[in-house]
Structure formats: C-alpha cells, structure tokens
C-alpha cells in the first residue's frame, strides 16, 4: 500500500464537482500541491537511485518511517492500538485527531519517549524500538517549545551539536546557518524569555534541526501561538520543510492546519488510525463515519431517506452532509431540477467574509451551506428551493458516497454555482 500516490485531482465526469469551491478549504490545496510535489518527486527518485545501489533494488518510494501494529496502554487506558502507517522520504505527515485520540502518544513513541507495548517502529527500514531516543536521529519540536530558558538562543541551537562533541568552528558555522535559515540573525544573544511566540517557535525549529536529524517531529507546533501569526508560521514551516526535504510528522487537532500543510494526513480516533491519505482523498472519499464528520464542515442527518432523491436509503440510516453538497436556488432564478428541489426555510444568514453562511430548515433537518454575495439577498424566514445533491451515507463503520438518484437519472452536465 502506498498511501501517497499523488492522485492529481481530476474531476470525475459524472460529478458536478465541489460546488462551493470558494468555501472549501481544499480549494487552495488542489492548485497548491503540484509544484512542491514535482520537486520532491525528483529528489525522491534521486535518493532511490543512490540508496538502491547500496541496498536492495529500488522499490517504489520506500517508506522512510513506518509503524506496524503499534499498541500502547497506560494502565487500563489504551492510548494507541493497531497503529500502522508509512511515510515516504521527504514528505510531511500530519497526525490529526481530537484530543485524547492518541496522536501525541504515537509521536512520542516514534521519538522513543514512550515504549510501545507491541508492534514495530521502523526508520530507514531498521527497527528502532530498542534504540535509545538520543540515538534515533530525531529532531523534536515540543508543544511549548521546551527551550532551555537559562541559555541564549545561540546556546539553545548549539546544544545538540555540543552534545555530539562537534568542533567549535563547525558549531558556530552551523548555528549561523540556522539563524539565517530561520531569520533569527541578531537575536542569538537573547534569552527565550525575550522572544515573541513566533520567534520561540523558530528557535525550537532551528534547535531541532541543528544536529541534522533524519526525521523531524512536531507536537502541536502552532497551538501556543495566536491565530493571526499561526497562519503565517504554517506556510513558513511548510516552505522550510519543503526546502530542506526532511521527512516530518506533526500532530494537530486542527483540520485546516493538517489539510493546508500536510502531504499525507493520518486521522486518529480513540487510539486507532481511522484513515490515511492525502487531504483530498480524505475529503472526497472518507472511509469511515468519523472521518466524514471530522474532515470538512458537516452536518449529520438522522434518517436521510426522507430527503427527495435519497428514497432508496435504508430506514433510519444516518449520513453526513457538507455545505457544498447543498445548493440554495437564489430567489427569482429559474429553479434547476425542479422535481428534486425541496422547499425550505431560511433559519439564519451569517457573513463569512467572502460569502454568506446560510442555515436552512426542511423536514426537521438543519442544513448549512454557502451562498454567494452576488446573489439576491436572503432574509430569515424566507422560503427557498434547495437541492441536496449528495451525502456520505454511514453503513456500520464505513462511509459511502451517495448521489441524489433523481439527478443521476437525468444525466449530468450541470454545475451549481452559488
């Protein structure tokens, strides 16, 4: 299984496509990935060629880090169970999940700060379970950075090199290199207490990279920073990691963060991996009800068979609906697909910057969707026609994409623009 065979998103001909392109956090991602990917692919090919001669013949991009069947419990609490995934060299992976889902435990096990009860952790194809954390070649950025507060920025960054007994000149050279890389020149004599949150994070990053680790692990790297700076740092970090080509894994509970930054997202829930895939895969083909609910904005519907066009659903079946699956026909416009459009009432209208977020009520459901500012204004209580063109139906512990049957029978070719 190779989770990151970069599926370049080509839209399926029978698929009206994400209608609310402007709303979707993936919109940028679709256009945004390819340059970095091409770059990395070339480097991977290089690496594979170099490694290949020394070891076995090159298999398709080998996983740089992989976990198989890893389990960890603390007393009676199982923090991680049957955790398996792999990450190819040079990629950035995100461990995404709600708090308490085991993601930090997984990260700490890779670093060697926790010992798994069962299962194997491999780095560069070698089992590292019994390798001491100091010998694993891992750079770790802690949630609160854990900078040495009694040392200057310079000494913080130099710490790892000094521990390796590097030559004095080499240390100065390397630290200056990292200060330049992280744009911290001139601040090397400061103490962590004299830095801003963003600067501290960059020092933590530089410190982790100084000893040239094989693998970079980041635990909630943006959690301690205020929202405004967070976005900047996110793209900065992504650019840095791409530039350095270092295999990295970061932990987050924020789906936007994972989606925006990562090549591969590993979704964890209750200690288990729910699904591993590119952000787009997870969004378009959620494998489990949890992923369908967790990724993207969604509303869960009880007994979705009551909706027009979904009459074939089993009784009482649940499904989740994303905002872009719901289309509000602007009042006054001709109604498309008249026979599957439903009458609904506008419950609320909220301004969301580039568009409006509209909540509509029908048959006891409350659906959320986007609505362009260009269309005639909606007022609360107004009757509108809406169309639900697809849902993710939940079947036991699986999620399946179900399209509106009335639309499918009528063929395709329509795009819904809001």
């Amino acid at each position: 299984m190779n989770p990151i065979t970069e599926k370049i998103p080509t839209s399926d001909p029978g698929d009206p496509g994400p209608a609310a392109a402007g709303l979707s956090p993936f919109a940028g991602k679709i256009a945004g990935t390819p340059p970095a990917t091409a770059d990395r692919a070339a480097r991977d090919a290089d690496d594979a060629a170099n490694d290949g001669s020394a070891r076995e013949p090159a298999r398709a991009p080998e996983n740089h880090v992989s976990l198989s069947g890893v389990r960890k419990s603390f007393g009676n609490f199982v923090a991680a169970d049957s955790v398996s995934f792999g990450l190819p060299k040079g990629t950035l992976g995100a461990l995404l999940g709600p708090s308490g889902s085991g993601k930090t435990t997984i990260l700490r096990m890779i670093a060697g700060l926790e010992n798994p009860d069962r299962g194997d952790i491999l780095i560069d194809g070698a089992r590292v379970n019994d390798v001491h954390p100091s010998k694993r070649g891992i750079g770790f950025v802690f949630q609160n950075y854990a900078l040495f507060r009694y040392m200057t920025v310079f000494d913080n960054i130099a710490f790892g090199l000094r521990a390796q007994k590097a030559d004095r000149n080499r240390i100065r050279e390397r630290v200056n290199e990292l200060l330049t890389l992280t744009d911290m020149n001139g601040l090397e004599k400061r103490y962590p207490a004299q830095l801003s949150g963003g600067q501290r994070q960059r020092v933590a990053f530089a410190r982790a990279l100084a000893p040239s680790p094989r693998l970079l692990l980041l635990d909630e790297p943006f959690a301690a920073i205020d929202a405004k700076v967070r976005r900047e740092l996110r793209s900065w970090l992504r650019a840095m990691i791409t530039k350095l080509g270092i295999t990295s894994i970061f932990v987050t509970h924020d789906q936007d963060e994972a989606i925006e930054v990562a090549d591969l997202v590993i979704i964890t829930n209750r200690g288990r991996v729910e699904q591993t895939g590119t952000p787009l895969d997870l969004y378009r083909e959620p494998a489990t009800p949890f992923v369908a609910r967790f990724v993207g904005e969604s509303t869960v519907l009880e007994d979705y068979g009551r909706l027009l066009g979904f009459e074939n659903a089993p009784r009482g079946a649940k499904a989740s609906v994303r905002p872009e699956f719901v289309h509000v026909c602007p009042p006054g416009d001709p109604v498309q697909y008249e026979n599957s459009a439903e009458n609904a009432e506008v419950l609320s209208v909220a301004f969301r910057g580039s568009s409006l977020e509209v909540k509509v009520g029908l048959k006891g459901f409350v659906l959320t969707t986007g609505y362009s500012l260009e269309h005639p204004a909606l007022s609360v209580g107004e009757k509108v026609k809406i169309l639900v063109w697809r849902v993710y139906a939940f079947e036991d512990d699986k999620a399946r994409l179900v399209n509106n049957s009335r639309l499918e029978s009528r063929g395709n070719g329509y795009n819904f623009a809001i």
Binding site: S134, F140, F142, A146, F159, Y191, R207
Partner: protein, 285 residues
C-alpha cells in the same frame, strides 16, 4: 511588595491591629526574649570571661566536630535529596507514594527514636554489630554514628524543597536535551540544575541550620565523650548541667550567631531567587 486591597472599615482595622500585635507579642515572648537572655547571660560578667568560655579547648573541639558533622551531613543529604527528588519527579515506578511518605518520616519520628534505631542496628545488641566488628568499624559512640543520626533527622530538607520545583518544571526540556543526543550528566548540569539551583541552595541552608543544632538523635549515639564525641549542643547541655552557666551561655552564643547568619543567608537567597523568578515572569516565561 504588592499593594493589597485595603478594606478600611473600623472593624477590620481593629482585627488587623489585634492580630498583628498578637503575632509580634508571641514571637517576642517565645523567641526573641529567650535568645536575648542567652546573650545577656553570656555577657553578664563582661567580655573577657565570655571570650574565655568561647575559647575553652573543649568548646573549640565541640565546635569543630559540629562543623565537621554538619559538612558531611549536608554533602551527603544534598546528594541523596537530589537523587530522591529526581527519582520521584522523573520516573514512574511502584511504591512511589510510599517513598514520598518515607522521605517525610524523619519529621514525624522523634530524634531520640532515630538515635535508638542506630544503636539497635549498629550497637552491641544490633544485628550488624558482628560484621562491623570483623571489619573493625565503629559506628555507635563515634563520628560515623553521629553523622548517620544527623542525616536521618535532616534528610527531608533538600528533597522536600526540590520536589515541587522539579514537578512544576515538567520533563520537556530534559526530553529535548536527550533527543538531541545529550547524555545524563550534560542534561543534568546544563538543563535541570539551573532550574533547581535556588531551591537547592534554600534546602541546603535549612539542612545546615538543622544539622548544626541537632541534639536528640546525636545525643543518643554520641556516648558523650568529652573532647571526642561531644558536639556543640551536647557540650552546652553538659556545661549547663554542671552549673557552668556562663560557659554554657557563651557556647550557646556561638550557635545563636551561626543561626542568625544562616537566617540572613536564607533571606538573601530567597529575595535573590524571587527577583530572578520575577524577572523571568515579567518577560513572560
């Protein structure tokens, strides 16, 4: 240092004055007056007799012995205290709660019992006596026994100061150091030690004060051999019992002065460390 909000109504004010006055009265009556009495007693006949009492050869030997025992105790207890605090705050293990309770045991047990424990272990009736005899080691009624007894009594001071500090700091920085390839000693000296230095110094000072004044446990194991196993507190007691009031108060003055010096050191350490912390706190760490 910080301005308290003032609830300046008459009733509260009255209470405030009464409570403050009571505290002062209590401390003056119970602590300051007796100490002043010691000084007064020592200097009652003027300075020369006082000097003579203080420079009495037995008093000097007792002082030297006290300092020796204190130094050994403090060094050993610093080491054990750091080890215990480290083990308790950095590792998860069975019996941790029990260990924490044990550290506090000397606070609960009477020093006399501590002394008897060592007599029962290493003395003529003790189970370890034959082995010690074989090796020619004397513990009871000799310096080693007195050091052991003092260690027992002063053991909690260092550990008790360090545990809260190490707990509050967490293990992140140490984990970061280890992941960067640092060994145990580098991690300890460069990362952990700077955090605990003030607490450690504070604990050491308290431990010193207690060790210098220790009477009960040491009294049991010393055997009261004048010029050999008499520490200053024991020497004072003997002088007093022999009605050498002046000499007794003279020797006591030495201990009182030492105590005052330690108290000053304690206050300096406290204020400097507070400033240090305050400084860092103000900068947002």
């Amino acid at each position: 240092m910080t301005e308290r909000r003032d609830f300046r109504n008459d009733k509260n004010r009255l209470w405030r004055i009464v409570l403050i006055a009571l505290s002062f009265l209590f401390i003056v009556a119970m602590l300051v007056l007796p100490l002043a009495q010691v000084l007064h007693g020592a200097l009652e006949r003027g300075f020369p007799p006082f000097l003579k009492a203080v420079s009495d050869p037995y008093a000097v030997i007792a002082l030297k012995l006290t300092l020796l025992i204190t130094a050994m105790t403090v060094v050993l207890n610093t080491f054990f205290g750091i080890s215990a605090a480290w083990a308790i705050t950095r590792f998860e293990f069975r019996g941790k709660g029990f260990l924490i309770t044990l550290i506090d045991l000397p606070f609960a047990v009477s020093p006399v019992i501590a002394g008897l424990v060592f007599i029962m272990t290493f003395g003529r009736l003790g189970w370890a006596y034959p082995f010690l005899q074989d090796w020619g080691i004397r513990i009871v009624f000799a310096i080693p026994g007195m050091v052991l007894a003092t260690i027992f009594v002063t053991f909690p001071f260092v550990g008790r100061e360090l545990i809260p500090v190490l707990t509050a700091r967490g293990t992140d920085e140490e984990e970061a150091a280890i992941l960067m390839g640092a060994g145990f000693f580098r991690t300890f000296w460069k990362v952990t030690f700077p955090h605990m230095r003030w607490a450690l110094l504070y604990g050491v000072i308290l431990c010193t004060a207690r060790a210098m004044g220790e009477f009960g446990a040491v009294s049991v194991v010393s055997g009261h051999l004048r010029g050999k196993t008499n520490t200053l507190p024991l020497h004072i007691e003997i002088l007093f019992k022999e009605y050498h009031t002046l000499q007794s108060f003279g020797a006591a003055t030495i201990l009182v002065c030492a105590a005052i010096l330690i108290l000053i050191a304690r206050n300096v350490v406290e204020s400097v460390s507070k400033k240090d912390d305050f400084h860092r706190a103000r900068q947002g760490v």
